[in-house]
């Protein structure tokens, strides 16, 4: 056994070295990046914002992935710190001349205030778990946003508040370049420092307790872990970290101001999505997920589309879509419950089980009844209500079809090795995408317009009205859902597990078990 363990330490050391080497190479690249000729200011700003979101997602991974606090309050802390910093460095505010507070001091105080609010939030959340915690923190963010919007004289309302830039080298064009580079390096250093800090924390005694808290608060308490202290600690720690990072980001190049837009639920949801996509149990994976996603979203903004489709998707159908997804999830659950009474569940079958068909039928019946009943009761807006239920019907069938085909594929492909399994799935997905594009193009070649009024889609052969800026999020969402369908722990999870030597540990397990079971035979003969 000792031999096995010595070997594994060896492998661990080698992999750790490889990991450090890769990180060092990346660091060197990012340090030299602004100096590469041909890199324009826009690209620097994009990378800089990639760093910022990497810190956001990584710290969220620490909060949610390590400590188990699925919080939506992240951007709230950013706003508290940035607005504090902004108000302190504003002329005449609190009748103090702005020169009294240098931006550095203002940012520092902003971080402290965010930390204090973090203590309060952590304390308020002590008894809340999972979904309740998420709801509370959403409300917290929204309340802060509303207050900021309402208190226009102090906060600038919807227009936002300008912050004194951290780096101010005068107004000349050369100085601008210097300022931008300084901001870039500042954010990069912040990223490196916070990643190191969070890594050390997560791997310390405190990190162990945080993970124990994530798994089971009561059990951890029974084992001697002071839950109250660590819960408050982790909220305070991340609040200070994102507060300082955020106020530096918003006082720097490009932005130089913070507005309530930063607090929109979309920003928070996106930073969470990046973390989940990368793998929320590892801060490094979350940071990488955020950085790459930000870059891709920027790239999508510019990509010329291979075919020109004009999408006229009015705002209301978007609202409908959101609402219908939620309602669908609910109705599906109810339907499943109802059907469960009549059918035996049988998983992994090739064909849809009676249970699933039953669930679909019940769903369709429920929505069908509502589709005729509700418009009949209402006197106004009957058309849009009926349309809404039509969408629900279509969604129900579509969900069923997608679910069934995925399951069918899974059963058919289950015998393949993992890489092949995913390979085939990805190929199929790309194939379907190509087919869809071809189909749409063919459709639009025959007639220049095609609309699908039920879901509010209107396609037409036009110049360029497709809004990639908006649709990239939709594409991103689809990619994310598909990713998580197959890799629940995030894309980088297997990579991180490899660097941590998980597979070696398992080999050790098997080896010891083998030694052990030999022993066992000996025992049994003796008795």
């Amino acid at each position: 056994m000792a031999v096995i363990r010595a070997e594994t330490t060896d492998i661990h050391a080698r992999r750790r070295f490889l990991g450090f080497a890769i990180l060092a190479a990346l660091a060197i690249f990012f340090v030299t990046f602004p100096q590469i000729s041909g890199v324009n200011p826009y690209q620097k700003t994009v990378v800089l914002s990639g760093f910022f979101w990497a810190i956001m997602s990584a710290s969220w991974a620490l909060l949610a992935g390590v400590a188990g606090q699925f919080s939506f309050a992240h951007m709230g802390f950013v706003a508290i710190a940035s607005y504090t910093a902004g108000m302190l460095s504003r002329d005449g505010f609190f009748s103090i001349s702005s020169s009294f507070f240098s931006p550095v001091v203002a940012i520092f105080i902003g971080g402290v205030v965010a930390g204090i609010v973090g203590v309060i939030v952590g304390w308020l959340l002590l008894r809340l778990r999972s979904s309740y915690l998420a709801l509370f923190t959403i409300a917290f963010s929204e309340i802060i946003r509303k207050v900021i919007v309402a208190e226009e004289p102090i906060t600038g309302g919807m227009n936002g508040l300008s912050l004194r830039p951290l780096f101010d080298f005068g107004g000349s064009p050369e100085a601008r370049i210097l300022e931008r580079d300084a901001s870039y390096y500042m954010m990069f250093i912040l990223l490196v420092i916070s990643l190191i800090l969070m890594y050390l924390l997560a791997n310390s005694r405190v990190g162990l307790f945080l993970r124990a808290m994530r798994e089971d608060e009561d059990a951890a308490a029974a084992l001697g872990v002071n839950i109250v202290r660590y819960k408050i600690f982790i909220f305070t720690f991340t609040a200070i970290l994102v507060g300082i990072t955020g106020s530096i980001y918003f006082s720097d190049v490009g932005a130089e101001r913070i507005s309530p837009d930063a607090l929109r639920l979309l920003s928070t949801s996106l930073l969470i999505t990046y973390a989940v996509l990368g793998g929320m149990e590892s801060m490094l994976a979350a940071a990488a997920g955020a950085f790459v996603s930000r870059l891709l979203l920027e790239v999508f903004r510019e990509i010329p589309l291979p075919f020109a489709i004009q999408l006229d998707y009015d705002v209301f159908s978007l609202v409908f879509l959101g609402a219908s997804v939620l309602i669908m999830a609910f109705v599906m659950r109810v339907a499943l419950r109802l059907s469960q009474r009549y059918f035996e569940a049988e998983k992994r079958a090739l064909n849809p089980t009676p249970l699933q068909v039953g669930a679909l039928v019940v769903t369709l019946v429920i929505i069908g009844i509502l589709r005729f009943l509700v418009p009949a009761v209402l006197t106004t807006a009957t058309d849009s209500v009926a349309r809404f239920f039509d969408i629900l019907l279509i969604l129900a069938v579509a969900t069923f079809a997608i679910q069934q085909s995925l399951r069918f594929l899974h059963v058919r492909l289950a015998h393949l090795s993992r890489p092949r399994y995913y390979g085939v799935l990805i190929l199929l997905f790309i194939g379907l995408l190509v087919l869809l594009v071809l189909f749409l193009n063919a459709l639009l070649a025959e007639q220049s317009e095609w609309s699908f009024p039920v879901v509010g889609i209107h396609l037409s052969h036009g110049a360029s009205a497709f809004e990639p800026g908006f649709w990239r999020y939709a594409v991103f969402g689809i990619v994310m859902i598909l990713t998580l369908r197959f890799m629940r722990n995030g894309l980088l999870y297997p990579v991180m597990q490899w660097f941590q030597g998980r597979d070696v540990a398992m080999q050790e397990t098997v080896a010891i078990r083998r030694v052990r079971s030999d022993d066992d035979f000996g025992d049994e003969e003796a008795t």
Partner: protein
Amino acid sequence: MLHLELHDVSKNFGGNLAVDNVTLTVDGPQLIGMIGPNGAGKTTLANLMSGMLNPSRGTISLNGRSINGRPAYEVARAGLGRTFQVTRALRRMTVLENMLVPAWARYPNDSKAQIEERAREVLDFLTMSHLAQEYGRALSGGQQKLLELARLLMLDPNIIILDEPFAGVHPRLQQTIYAYIDRVYKDGKAVLLISHDMDAVFELSQRLLVLNFGALIADGEPEAVRSDPAVIEAYLGEDDEEDAAQASGADNANGAGGADR
């Protein structure tokens, strides 16, 4: 020091009196069995003792200090550890990490290497050293029970409460648990062994507590308790004594239970 005292302790959930005026003292190393039908309040009493619940009335003190209103982690660090009837492995942490938690909570200044060495010894003793790197969620039910016992050894408490350790456990594993109880007793700890099955604890305990409808109806030598009419009544209803003797002699009749709660 090892002294646990419950004085007139009651606990009600709404109108349901789960623990009814219990007074008892645990002083010095001993093997105590606690039995009682399903729903008698055994788990609730364990929760009260370990600080996970607060008594509605009465006082509980550990080593002379009241633990009323004190958080569970303080009780654990003061030297009272317990297992859970429904096992609570930390699922996305390895077995070794599971064991590191209580050890580091109790002894913050020990180095990780020191603790891991102790953990390996404990794992060896519980015949689960091959599982050191396994995640909690990957363990079988029996292995999770062992993990709870292992964590408890790492917490190194003076009083150990085992809530239904034999429920749903393979006979071979049962032997391991016997050895475990023997070991901690010889280390000078008090063990409170909770079960709804009298036979399982009868052989092991030096003192037997019987709980019925939340009230402590007997406390004493196992032999004396076994022939106590109130206990027989609680366990066997109106049946006569001959039946009772037969039933308790029957081989582990309701041992497969453990489904209470």
